[in-house]
């Protein structure tokens, strides 16, 4: 049996409809009409122990909703979840003892107290034996360089420091599984890299199974062998990242910095998708145009200062899948 089994998982939310017209608001108060929105519409996947998987999708795809159901804080409207033989929302307490959770946009640390105080509290919460607690604290402090701010109130931490502290907090009790919802959101390249290094270390050395959502494909490239891609609450791809990129990630963007802001770089082989001052974004199909040819063409015709080729974003890959059909999986 796999560690995580998700079968036809569903979650729908109902939202009151706002009515038009002058009396709309009043009528809305008296008799509300609801629309149902299917945030997760039948997701299935399994994950083996020890794996590190990316759960990806565009904004509003249903990633966070799925994570909330996996961690037991949201009750599914349908389908089945089992994590290590437990049903998260039914056996919540037993379940949460074995998992670590980080929601990148929130913190689990006490805002007004020094970071170490929240760690100490977690020792009580999970009844972590003192020796083990010290060991873990030492290991995480080294790996994540927490030392300089352990005594600083959380509200004074930078985003990167807070995220590192949150990661350590999620792992102090030696969870078997770590759920991460956008653990790198808003971080700079250095901070991101440090977090990635840490995650791959705890996955490798401690065997922690990790499932993470992110909008940054380089996170996934660095960390995940396995990718589950969802859109509109449905799985549209499940497999390796390499295949996904070779089959569907055909779009690349060439970012051009022009010496002269007044001209628009128009070429046959790419579409100008955006232009801001001297910087322009050209989208091209990697299968039909090579980056080298495009660069040569642009450089020959326009005064270029700098050029970079951007890897496809999740959104572009999703677009690629729709253009070629889901069946290609």
């Amino acid at each position: 049996m796999a560690l995580i089994e998700v079968e036809n998982l569903q979650k729908s939310f109902s939202r009151p409809v706002r009515r038009a017209g002058r009396l709309g608001a009043l009528r809305g108060l008296l008799a509300r009409e609801y629309v149902t929105m299917e945030a997760v519409a039948g997701v299935s996947f399994t994950l083996e122990a020890g794996a590190m998987a990316g759960y990806l999708g565009p904004n509003g795809a249903g990633k966070s909703t799925t994570m909330k159901m996996l961690t037991g804080i949201l009750v599914p409207s349908g389908g089945r979840i089992e994590v290590g033989g437990l049903v998260p929302h039914r056996q919540r307490v037993a379940h949460v003892r074995r998992i670590g959770v980080v929601f990148g946009q929130r913190t689990q640390l006490w805002w007004d107290l020094p970071t170490i105080e929240s760690f100490e509290l977690l020792r009580h919460v999970y009844k972590i034996p003192m020796a083990r607690y010290r060991e873990n604290l030492k290991a995480f402090s080294e790996l994540l360089e927490l030392g300089p701010f352990l005594d600083t109130p959380v509200r004074q931490l930078s985003l990167g420091q807070r995220m590192r502290a949150d990661l350590a907090a999620a792992l102090l009790h030696d969870p078997a599984i770590l759920f991460l919802d956008e653990p790198t959101i808003g971080l700079d390249v250095v901070a991101r890299e440090r977090i990635r290094g840490f995650l791959s270390e705890i996955n490798r050395e401690r065997g922690v199974t990790v499932i993470l959502t992110t909008h940054d494909l380089s996170d996934v490239e660095r960390l995940c062998q396995r990718v589950v891609l969802i859109d509109h609450g449905r799985v549209i791809y499940d497999g390796g990242l390499d295949q996904l990129k070779t089959r569907h990630g055909r779009w690349r963007t060439l970012v051009v910095d022009l010496a002269d802001a007044s001209c628009a770089p128009l070429v046959e082989m790419a579409d100008l998708v955006r232009q801001e001052g001297p910087r322009a974004w050209l989208r091209f199909d990697r299968e039909r145009t090579s980056a080298a040819a495009l660069i040569a063409e642009v450089a020959a015709r326009y005064p270029v200062r700098d050029l970079t080729v951007e890897e496809p974003e999740i959104e572009a890959i999703v677009r690629g899948i729709y253009e070629r059909g889901v069946g290609v999986i």
Binding site: F13, K63, S64, K68, T71, G72, I73, L74, V75, R92, V93, A94, V96, R97, I99, V101, F103, Q105, R106, T107, Q108, W110, D112, L113, E117, E120, L121, H124, V125, Y126, P153, D181, E182
Partner: protein, 267 residues
Amino acid sequence: MDDRMELYLAVAARSFRRATTYRSAYLAGIITNAFFGALVCFVYQALYAGGGRVAGLSLNDAISYAWTTQSLISIGGAWIVSAGISQSIRSGDVITDLSRPWSFYLYWLSRSFGERAFNLLVRGALTYLVGVLYFGARLPAPADLLAFLPAIILAMQVSFAFSFMVNLTAFWLLDSTGVTLLSNVMLTFLSGFILPVAFFPPALQALVHALPFESITGLPTQIFLGQLAPAQIARALATQAAWAAALTALGLAMQAAAMRKVVVQGG
């Protein structure tokens, strides 16, 4: 419920420490409470100008009562003081507290007790000291102080259970400010915060005695000031204990219902 005393003590200790970090907030609190305490006293001094007693209370009784209730504001004696739970529901931060192996209720109860212990011992005590020094508010007799201890602990339990339920409506209503406003009006008037219940007309007194709010402010205040005979103290404590048990049970039932339909906001 839960046998993890040591965890909840750790929560309360941190909450206490957290409260100490807001020095300017509690200083401002003391000044505000003392200001209104003084204002009420001036009114009483004018009303009692002819001397005598009103509903059995002397001027000094009334003044001491006013300072006691002002001192109890920061532990929830006048209106709901901590909106932490509903805020965390609204913002979605509640997510972390829900994914912990603890009782959500007891977690917030310990947080509230830690904070209120500080408020009582520092904010409340200092406010009352102002009343003692400048308006001759009465210092309690040792025996009354002893009875006040269980009374105030029960009061905080009743007050917490009530505010917990009000806050928890945020799970359904998203925004609990309306309910909070309404609850605060009831709490302010029916708890004996504004006026001693003895000043109320008989019909209103009967209503007050039938509701839990008096257990939060009126009863502990009367005990503190030695206005109750031993038998009355015993009855007051029993009333408080009954309300504490009833509202806690209700609060837990409401929590169970909320958990079943939990909707956590935001990504």
